[in-house]
Symmetry: C2
Subunit: 341 residues, 2 copies
């Protein structure tokens, strides 16, 4: 009898243990992008391809380690983007493209899916890591979006690393500006200038972004960019626009965008994916496909997104020839991609 009771207790405990739901902690994951655009294998040297893959792997592993150690998704997003910002390979931070006036004006934004708090900066020229400034705006001001000199003043007040604007000089990017301006001059002379110049399409990509889910079930998303080569008139793209370039909500998903910013603003791309999940019950994958392959493409917009839902499912959706991207899913599996799927 005693043995039978023991057996029953053992069976009961065993069943209870089996039925305990996997703790939220098992579901951490991370996904990043380094820009979408006309990225073709025939134009890429094996050395450059290896450099991109290596930097993407370094960045995604940095964020994953933070999550694995119990760090927050906000920390993972910020630190991962810092790695990409510090590399000259991407159009963000160090590798930012030049404006029409030969300057580097950087934009970034970050959002916390738990609180729906957000921070963003536009047009900063002396901030080494704009994503870190965006986070300071979110956490240390009552504002969401700060611009230009005012944002830089706030950066100094809050101990954000300031660099001389010459830090952002890279020969490659400066040559791209000269090429863009030469092309513009020729067009002006020939009278063939077009607002929707296809050349623009290849000179606005390279934005970086990250979405992460931490062990506490909190989603965060962030995006950082140098904008568009030869941009004029203080143009601001989608990167610092919450809802267009970045969105995160623990109830639905986190999204970071990259592409032709004007179309992403007009389509409210990042929030639209969340809205399709919340209001129409679509999966993350289907919502992203609907927005990028149907709605964005219909208007003529190019680009892509990386996104993650609250269960840690990952989607990387783009309508361009390629998108620099990497992820480590909830099973710990690493994937790195550049060209079309």
């Amino acid at each position: 009898m005693k043995n039978a009771v023991c057996l029953l207790v053992i069976i009961f405990v065993f069943v209870q243990c089996k039925s305990v739901k996997a703790p939220a902690g098992e579901n951490f994951a991370i996904v990043i992008h380094g820009g979408a655009g006309t990225i073709l294998k025939k134009n890429m040297s094996p050395e450059l391809e290896a450099q991109y893959k290596s930097k993407l792997e370094e960045a995604v592993k940095m964020g994953y380690a933070i999550l694995k150690n119990g760090g927050s998704s906000l920390d993972a997003v910020e630190k991962t983007i810092n790695v990409l910002e510090d590399s000259p390979l991407f159009n963000a931070g160090k590798g930012a493209v030049f404006t029409n006036q030969g300057k580097n004006e950087l934009d970034a934004s970050i959002m916390d899916g738990k609180t729906l708090n957000a921070g963003a900066v536009a047009g900063v020229t002396t901030v080494k890591n704009p994503i870190s400034l965006a986070r300071a705006v979110m956490e240390k001001s009552e504002h969401v979006l700060l611009a230009r000199e005012g944002a830089e003043f706030f950066a100094k007040e809050n101990g954000i690393e300031i660099v001389n604007p010459s830090y952002f000089y890279t020969e490659n990017r400066y040559e791209s500006l000269l090429k863009a301006q030469e092309k513009e001059k020729n067009e002006l002379n020939s009278g063939s200038t077009s607002f929707y110049d296809p050349f623009i399409k290849d000179n606005k990509f390279g934005t970086v972004g990250c979405v992460a889910l931490d062990k506490n079930g909190n989603l965060a998303a962030g995006t950082s960019t140098g904008g568009m080569t030869n941009k004029k008139w203080g143009r601001i793209g989608d990167t610092p626009i919450i809802g267009a370039g970045t969105y995160a909500n623990n109830n639905t998903c986190g999204v970071s965008s990259t592409g032709w910013g004007e179309y992403f603003i007009r389509n409210v791309v990042a929030y639209d994916i969340s809205a399709l999940m919340e209001y129409k019950g679509l999966s993350l994958e289907n919502a992203a496909k609907e927005v990028i392959q149907k709605k964005l493409s219909k208007l003529g917009g190019d680009g892509g997104i990386v996104a993650m839902d609250k269960e840690g499912n990952i989607t990387m959706e783009f309508n361009t020839a390629g998108m620099y991207r990497a992820s480590i899913n909830t099973k710990g599996e690493l994937t790195i991609g550049i060209y079309e799927k």
Copy 2:
């Protein structure tokens, strides 16, 4: 027999005429706001109240006349907002509030519901009518959002009226700045500064906006503001953010927001109303209630919206003590309001 045929023909023609659907032309309408906030009757003199009502009526009738004469909803929105911008009563154009540095920095945006094209400007200091500049950005550049000096350069290039910054000086608004700064100084001395100071709540309202539907069934929406008294660090609110401050889509609705901009950005307020209609099938009225009374209020945000659906139904929803507002519906009925419904 001949008479009988005649009678049948007459009946047939009559029935056909009756069954012809009302042409799109019968459904034109317009709605405007002049800001939401702690607007209480006990604080308002009868003279000032009369001034507000008279200006709201003048503005809404201006836009209505354009629509009645077959003009576009974009024209109606721009010209109506021009009337409000040219009045010192509202925090937009002439009556813009002062920044922390004693400047007037203006934001505006406009969206075309037919094409989903949009234009916006942030932080301009010399443009008499920012909404007209926003429209020029939409129609004459490949961009959506231009900021500060760059936007002003674009304004000059495109023949937009430029004024000396002193044009925006009004004694009332300057006194508000001095009061705000005095309060801030006292708080710093007493160590009681709070980011979420309730004082801020009453110093960021007065934004103006308009939504119109024209005889061709095209919706348009626009918003214009002077921002927040004593604002620092180049803060940008929701007004120039497509999806937050302004949204228009012929398939759903047009929306113009006013209120605590940071909350409107985090909630993607204007687009969210459209998304609830498109994805969840809500009526305009219920979608606006859901977003303003539930979602915005839940986060702690104050303010309101005016909106119109593609049939010309009008909603004016706010969670503050009042909102300056006026409309002329599809039946030609004028309403003007200031306090709670």
